[in-house]
Amino acid sequence: MALRAAILRHVRLPLQTAPKLHHNQPHPCLASFRFMSSHDDHITKEQVTDRVLAVIRDYPKVDPSKVTPNVHFEKDLGLDSLDTVEIVMALEEEFKLEIPDKEAVRIDSCNLAIEYISNHPMAS
């Protein structure tokens, strides 16, 4: 951080309008101007899905063959509400999140969990 501040204080760039770009394909020499930004560094939905399914399969009361991305914890897997809370806490630990109570109550099934985690900016 100190290096970045030092560079920003001392480097002067000539004033010019940046060329118009399609934002998915950064111009190769302009890509380096934002090499310290984590703006595009989000976890992908496939990674979220894989990790969520792995967490649910590792839960001892769950039959791993029944786990699909659409499975409902209480109806399909036969868990009770305490097990659901435990799975949500396991997901919090896996993705280093802290899910507030109002959202955690809503997470009843696997696809809701995947959707919540993919939309969370701090999921890692």
């Binding site: 001892p60 509400s81 305490l82 097990d83 435990e86 806490m89 919090e92 630990e93 109570d101």
Partner: protein, 132 residues
């Protein structure tokens, strides 16, 4: 520690069973969030894992799941918070944690340290029986 304010949660009486249930889930979440701290301060990494401790806490809660009187649930929660506070404040010691929460129904600590992975199945089953 963000979960260090457990002494604030003194029990007002729950009006309904639903409110008591909500407080039980709050307790469970507080306990789960303090598990990494517990694993660290008691050096439990070679004996158990966070998910096993979480399952142990859940099964202790489930032992009392038949209770329907909200005041009894409040009393149990009070004792649970007291126990959690003792564990997190390191008022207990490692052998207490292992004996009460890790050595479960199977009666023996499962070997998880790397030094034990090479030992023979004979030695692993030694405590169970001479003849297996």
């Amino acid at each position: 520690m963000s979960n260090a304010l457990k002494n604030v949660k003194v029990a007002p009486n729950s009006a309904t069973l639903a409110e008591a249930r909500h407080r039980v889930f709050d307790f469970f979440k507080t306990a789960c969030r303090s598990l990494p701290t517990v694993m660290h301060i008691y050096n439990l990494d070679d004996v158990t894992s966070i998910s096993e401790l979480r399952s142990t806490v859940a099964s202790e809660i489930r032992k009392n799941s038949h209770v329907t009187n909200p005041k009894v649930i409040d009393m149990l929660l009070f004792k649970a918070f007291e126990e959690l506070k003792n564990v997190v404040d390191m008022a207990k010691q490692r052998h207490h944690i292992i004996g009460q929460y890790v050595v479960g129904k199977q009666g023996l600590v499962q070997d998880r340290a790397t030094k034990d992975q090479g030992i023979s199945p004979f030695l692993k089953n030694f405590y169970n029986s001479n003849y297996s």
